[in-house]
């Protein structure tokens, strides 16, 4: 089918020549313009992020105050019937917590961060930065967005069904995920099944997207935009595209097999002799392997981490040179680093599975590759950090976020090192330490990078700046709350707090002073941190309001940009009108130099844009694409 789509796509270009003004629906809703699609992705993804955040706030209530009813300010969104089904006297139940936990993870990863980083920023910025008129396949691009939306809505719709949404964790391990919602006779109406349907759609969407991105980057670069003149952002998108293209399909295979397990009662992931409390001896053939699911899941799962990360680091890599007014330090090492990172990310997956007893040889292999992958990661982060050195830094709103990204992501990365070693991981696996680690990577790391990106490109998209005051009101409390939210998790994790306790460890407490329950005493020592973390989360939620207000208010009241290139940046997206029209460029765009030529000796200004012809006495020879090496 997709071959059909990939080729049939051209047909609509037949009508070029007789331009007709598209109507509202074509222009803003069913648009094929990469910029509109990027904005659609951005808005949808942010709404999903908000929803995922909300689920987490409810979970944090259950962790901090497991015995108290959910307060009205959180529970008013639910209907009475829903509350009666999922809350016990107003308290969050274990089932509900599991459901929210599974969906929080799924929404944040698959519906929030990836679509925001890759779908939104990638779509808007990539074609502009390589000097292309649009994506190579605009209709595929549109389909990609709508399939993503449909998949997301299907997943979330299950919240309102009798079964509720998926409850088996975002990793959806079998056999648990194979059985969950087994009491629902029509399996197509079970949350756990709809999760899989949604997942298959999201994978289809990302497949269409990634084919489009990679083709665009390979074939639609402007004259002179050789590989080593591509901004790092584009490189990151290229690698991300390949990761999505190659890592997602095995999960699709796993998803299809789990779907067959659920709907047709096969035993792909069901071992022989499976006995459950509710079902007794399962009426299944058995003979399958739960471990197979984990392998297929993490084969995607780990590259997915880099799919999350690369767009954010790509934003930061654009923000930093523009605001330090000096070339990016180690551009080439960053490019090679990101390529190596892409390759290595395919062979580290089983470090998520040390506890499954794969055997020491396999564990050692994955331990080695995992440690290896920290090398390119460190190269990226170090190059960004050194780029600050000796720069004349402007603390624009985007730059503030980028500067916070570096240490926050650094904490996230460094706390990951102990988890790479299987001996340490045996202790830390499935504890809050792991949660703290990857949330440091994703929340103050990746999301900060993406917030920076919003501030950096908002003037190009709308022609107005975002408010600095509101940004300060957003940034500083968020930074503080993030650390109060995630640092205690590292501490609790090392004390042995399990990541899936719905009551925050309450059940494990040593209630009496002379109790023999030693672990309970440790729990008692650290359980109060739950309250700190929960309040940090809720306060942080309140301080996201300035951002939301900022994005909408600045559309009307924001300071207008003085020029098409408000940051005096060098990459091609700043050569377009503001906002760029359909077709992007108003002149025959070409790249005459590298992406980050700031403060070049001999230049009139402290930046030399890529599209500016070099000053030379000899006649200018336009660069030919044939010089590209690949």
């Amino acid at each position: 089918m997709s071959a059909h789509a990939a080729t049939a796509d051209h047909s609509h270009h037949d009508d070029h020549g007789h331009h007709h003004e598209p109507g509202f629906w074509q222009k803003y809703v069913f648009s094929t313009d990469h910029k509109v699609i990027g904005i659609q992705y951005g808005i949808t993804a942010m709404l999903f992020l908000l929803f995922g955040f909300y689920l987490m706030m409810v979970m944090r209530w259950s962790i901090a105050y497991p015995h108290e009813p959910l307060p009205g300010w959180m529970s008013w969104v639910f209907t009475d019937t829903w509350k009666a089904r999922w809350l016990q006297d107003g308290k969050v139940t274990g089932d509900t917590y599991n459901m929210f936990g599974a969906m929080h993870g799924t929404i944040m990863v698959f519906l929030g961060v990836v679509p925001l980083g890759f779908g939104a920023f990638g779509n808007y910025v990539t074609p502009l930065q390589i000097g292309a008129v649009d994506m190579a396949f605009p209709k595929l691009n549109m389909m990609s967005y709508w399939i993503y939306l449909l998949g997301g809505l299907i997943m979330c719709a299950s919240f309102f069904m009798e079964s509720g949404a998926a409850k088996s964790g975002w990793t959806n391990y079998s056999p648990l995920a194979g059985f969950a919602d087994g009491q629902i006779v029509n399996q197509w109406l079970a949350g756990q099944t709809q999760w899989l349907l949604g997942l298959v759609m999201l994978i289809t969407s990302s497949l269409l997207g990634s084919v489009n991105f990679v083709t665009t980057i390979i074939n639609l670069r402007a004259r002179g935009m050789t590989w080593m003149r591509m901004p790092f952002f584009v490189w990151a998108m290229l690698v991300t595209g390949f990761l999505l293209l190659l890592a997602f399909p095995p999960l699709e295979a796993a998803g299809i097999m789990q779907l067959v397990d659920r709907v047709f009662h096969s035993s792909f992931f069901m071992p022989s002799g499976l006995f459950t409390k509710s079902e007794g001896l399962a009426e299944l053939s058995g003979g399958g392997s739960p471990l197979l699911f984990q392998h297929l899941f993490w084969f995607l799962g780990h590259p997915e981490v880099y799919v999350l990360l690369l767009p954010a680091i790509a934003c930061v890599a654009e923000i930093i040179p523009a605001n330090t007014r000096r070339p990016m330090w180690g551009y080439k090492s960053m490019v090679y680093g990101v390529i190596v990172l892409g390759f290595l990310s395919f062979i580290v997956w089983a470090h998520h599975m040390y506890l499954t007893g794969m055997g020491p040889k396999i564990s050692t292999w994955f331990q080695i590759t995992t440690v290896l992958i920290s090398v390119p990661s460190v190269i990226l982060l170090t190059a960004l950090m050194i780029s600050l050195w000796g720069g004349s830094i402007r603390f624009t709103p985007a730059m503030i976020w980028a500067c916070a990204f570096i240490p926050m992501f650094g904490i996230g990365g460094l706390t990951g090192l102990p988890l790479a070693f299987n001996l340490v991981d045996l202790h830390l696996h499935d504890t809050y330490y792991v949660i703290g680690h990857f949330h440091y990577v994703v929340a103050p790391g990746i999301l900060f990078g993406l917030f920076g990106g919003v501030h950096h490109w908002y003037p190009k998209i709308t022609g107005r700046y975002l408010s600095k005051t509101l940004n300060h009101l957003h940034f500083w409390p968020t930074l503080v709350c993030m650390n109060f939210l995630f640092f205690p998790m590292l501490i609790q994790g090392m004390a042995g707090f399990h990541r899936r306790w719905y009551n925050g460890g309450d059940a494990y407490l040593a209630k009496a002073a002379d109790s023999a329950n030693v672990f309970g005493k440790t729990v008692a020592e650290y359980i109060d941190l739950n309250i700190t973390m929960s309040w940090a989360a809720w306060i942080m939620a309140a301080f996201q309001l300035p951002f939301i207000i900022n994005v909408f208010l600045s559309l009307r009241t924001g300071k207008k940009v003085e020029s098409d290139n408000p940051w005096n940046a060098t990459t091609l997206e700043w050569a377009t009108p503001t906002p760029p029209g359909h077709g992007n460029f108003t002149f025959d765009v070409a790249a005459y130099r590298g992406p980050y030529e700031y403060s070049q000796p001999g230049a009139d200004e402290d930046y030399s844009p890529q599209w500016e012809k070099p000053k030379t006495d000899s006649p200018v020879v336009a660069p030919q694409p044939t010089t590209a090496h690949h």
């Binding site: 997709s2 049939a8 051209h10 190579a136 399909p249 097999m257 009662h265 197979l292 109060d528």
Partner: protein, 527 residues
């Protein structure tokens, strides 16, 4: 605005957009099928049951292989014809390609159909039986036809439905069966809904259950609201107490409870379940997957409890196609028991004269085969026979063996009709000779029963999943190529090179589909 390089290649990359895209797409497809092929290897290596080797009819698979290879050639000819600007030739070659796709799917359909019409049963002692089922005269479906004899009968006295979960079609089916059995299903006790009293003896209907459900959900929502407010009040009060100052929630929690007396007036009656009496107690039958049966009490998957004695619910074979002891042997070897003894101790050999005869015949045939192989291939340096009969030859008695036995010829020498190579035994032809054993198996001996669907074992699961997905690719590819064939004329006249480019891309996809089959055929049919 025009997107460049739609079908003219870019100089430095040497490719047009669609060519790059299709290769990327195929790379992704390789990973997708790679995931499935890896799973196949993983499942096969880890299988704790005898993997069904060469279980599928080879002939249709082989024909399909050549059909697809041939179509890959014709699709190239179609592309070449376009390049040479020979429209008629293009039509012919593309037409053949699509016809090949149709033949492929047709054969696939026959193959699938056979799977859905054969029954398989695994007994608790690991004997595996294959064949066709009798009709169960006591299980009459809505069309008045008897259902296949693989259902659970319960003499229902009392039914308790879960108000929230009951599955409408099942309730309707219960009502239908009760009516057919001239029994009434009526409310066991008086029930009071808001503003309405339902007397005991009200007849069961979906509407009734829905009314009760509506009432229950309303009461439940009300009560949850009342209880939540009450609990909140208790917490506020507790936190205000001086003795609780500085205490954490978990320290206070044990002393905080809702006082039932305080909220008694606001609480509405919930009816989470509702019971009905069947008079007179009557026979109800259910598909075995829908029910967890017990001697006196059974439970449907939608949480309906059925009180009543479990009735005799055998799996009744009209005829057996195969008796397979390989799993018995595998289990016996695990426990260190002599496989032949284990087989001869199975329920089947002890209870079915025909099966025992067949087993004895097969044993004799295996001995003969063993001698033949020894005579032909001799012994190796360790004085062991170089070739011995396979596990399948030893322990599986297939329908061809039953035919050979009836015809009085040696194993492997039976006469098979060509159609039987595709479809299995032709009963109309064979049945008068009574070559296939009949059998009734008590329900408690059945571990798993069903058709040859993904549920039967992981081999059929991966077989169906992979071939179905491959079939979808064949259909998808045929639709795309068909579009070029039937709708390409206009484009051919305006821009033949563009059409040729599209056909080339479609053809690349078609070759990929062919390639996948070339891997699928040996691993599923031959190995």
């Amino acid at each position: 605005m025009e997107i460049p390089y739609i079908f003219t290649p870019r100089k430095d990359t040497g490719m047009c957009n669609s060519k790059i895209a299709i290769w990327l797409f195929l790379a992704s497809e390789v990973m997708l099928f790679g995931g499935f092929f890896s799973s196949y290897v993983y499942l096969r290596l880890g299988a704790d049951y005898p993997w069904p080797e060469r279980a599928l009819p080879v002939l249709p698979g082989l024909i399909n292989t050549f059909v697809l290879i041939f179509s890959s050639v014709t699709v190239v000819f179609a592309w070449a014809a376009l390049k040479l600007r020979k429209w008629g030739m293009f039509q012919l070659c593309m037409g053949i390609t699509i016809a090949c796709a149709a033949i492929f799917m047709g054969l696939k359909g026959i193959e699938y159909n056979v799977k859905w019409h054969h029954q398989a049963v695994r007994l608790t002692d690991y004997t595996i039986l294959e064949g066709h089922l009798d009709k169960d005269p006591k299980a009459i479906d809505a069309k008045g036809q008897p259902y296949e004899a693989d259902v659970i009968h319960v003499n229902a006295e009392k039914l308790t439905f879960s108000t929230v979960r009951f599955h409408k079609p099942w309730v309707e089916e219960i009502i239908r069966q009760a009516e057919a059995g001239k029994a009434t299903v009526a409310l066991a006790e008086e029930l009071s809904l808001q503003g309405q009293k339902l007397p005991a003896g009200t007849k069961l209907s979906v509407d009734l259950l829905e009314a009760i459900q509506k009432n229950h959900l309303k009461s439940r929502a009300n009560n949850a609201d009342v209880r939540t407010d009450a609990l909140r009040g208790e917490w506020v009060a507790a936190k205000a107490k001086a003795e609780n100052a500085g205490k954490q929630g978990w320290e206070m929690a044990p002393n905080i409870n809702i006082d039932p007396a305080k909220i008694a007036n606001s609480i509405m009656v919930e009816t989470p379940s509702v019971s009905f009496v069947v008079t007179p107690p009557t026979n109800l039958w259910f598909k075995h997957r829908d029910i967890k049966e017990g001697a006196d009490q059974s439970r449907l998957r939608d949480d309906t409890a059925i009180i009543g004695k479990l009735q005799d619910s055998p799996v009744a074979f009209h005829n057996l196609d195969a008796i397979d002891f390989r799993h018995v042997v595998m289990q016996a070897e695990k426990k260190g028991i002599d496989p032949v003894k284990a087989i001869e101790n199975t329920w089947l050999i002890k209870h079915s004269k025909e099966a025992k005869e067949a087993w004895e015949w097969n044993k004799a045939q295996t001995a003969r085969l063993e001698q033949e192989l020894l005579d032909k291939y001799g012994r190796d340096e360790n004085n062991q026979p170089k070739r011995v009969p396979t596990l399948t030859e030893r322990y599986r008695i297939g329908w061809k063996d039953f035919v050979a036995k009836a015809d009085g010829v040696d194993k492997g020498k039976e006469k098979i009709h060509t159609s039987e190579e595709f479809m299995g035994p032709n009963y109309e032809l064979r049945e008068p000779k009574h070559t296939f054993p009949h059998l009734h198996i008590p329900r408690e001996l059945v571990f798993l029963s069903g058709k040859f669907t993904p549920a039967w074992n992981t081999y059929y699961a991966i077989y169906f999943t992979m071939t179905f997905l491959h079939g979808l690719h064949v259909i998808g590819g045929a639709i795309v190529l068909g579009y070029y064939l039937f709708r390409g004329k206009k484009m051919y006249q305006s821009n033949p090179e563009w059409l040729a480019n599209r056909v080339e891309v479609g053809g690349l996809f078609w070759h990929f589909v062919d390639l996948v089959w070339i891997f699928l055929f040996p691993i599923l049919y031959l190995m």
